[in-house]
């Protein structure tokens, strides 16, 4: 199996898998960073 042009085949699949991994990692990272940016303590009440 995989004779001939196999040396061009594996890099193609590797690039595609790398894209999917990057998409997942960057979206998860973006969401986590956003979660950390949200202040969790209640907003301060200011008296007029």
């Amino acid at each position: 199996m995989m004779g001939g042009y196999a040396r061009y085949l594996w890099p193609s699949f590797a690039v595609f898998v790398a894209l999917l991994v990057w998409m997942a990692a960057s979206s998860i990272g973006h969401h986590r960073r956003a979660l950390r940016m949200v202040p969790t303590e209640p907003p301060r009440r200011t008296t007029p």
Binding site: V15, L19, L20, M23, S27, A34
Partner: protein, 251 residues
Amino acid sequence: MNRFWTTFHQWGSPPTFYRFARALQPWLLVPAVLLIVHGMYAGLVLAPADYQQGDGFRIIYVHVPAAWLSLFVYTSMVVAGAVALIWRMKIAEVYVVDAAYAGAGFTAVALLTGMLWGKPMWGAWWVWDARLTSELILLFLYLGVIALNRALPDRRSAARACAILAIVGVINVPIVHYSVEWWNTLHQGASITRFEKPAMPMSMLWPLLELSLGSMLFYFWSVLLRMRGSLLERERRQAWARAVAADAQPS
């Protein structure tokens, strides 16, 4: 009709969308992973080798889904851009910007895998063919949207500018799609069209359909997660965002 607009705006509300996206995501990720894993196995092992190209033809199993999605993502950005400009909907503004990252990734992979196919089949990594050149312009449009968004400090103005750029660039989408028909290109014509019988036997076609559907579901999972992050970032002072962040904190 009023009911339609009420529902439309209700779904456009960030907290409603955030909850909907969070609930929907597992239903996208699980089938996406199953389809991609099985599609890759089928494409690499089960599908027969091409009688002329041998195993080299299997590059289409990653090249074609990436190329299809590069056009699909851009078209969806244009629709979202129009919604963002007409109805000032935050969800649509966020989508235009967040979809550009995955879109640029799919376009870059379509170009790279095309080059890896071109070298053994055409004898060259790159030719200034109409299909290849218009796909490269599509990559530049995606990068332009990303750069424009980063250059403007105000999120809403940046998103609207990105929407305008995406809409202006839509002229390139039919050029990419029909370039193989309008010009005499080295790139082959469409093998799979909506109205005609595919030029491939089913044993070769179904891994391609599996990988395309799996990649699309995976794209939606990824973009929804990114959009959830962007909405939290924008609305971090709102009560709903604080409640989400408080729930996510380890107890």
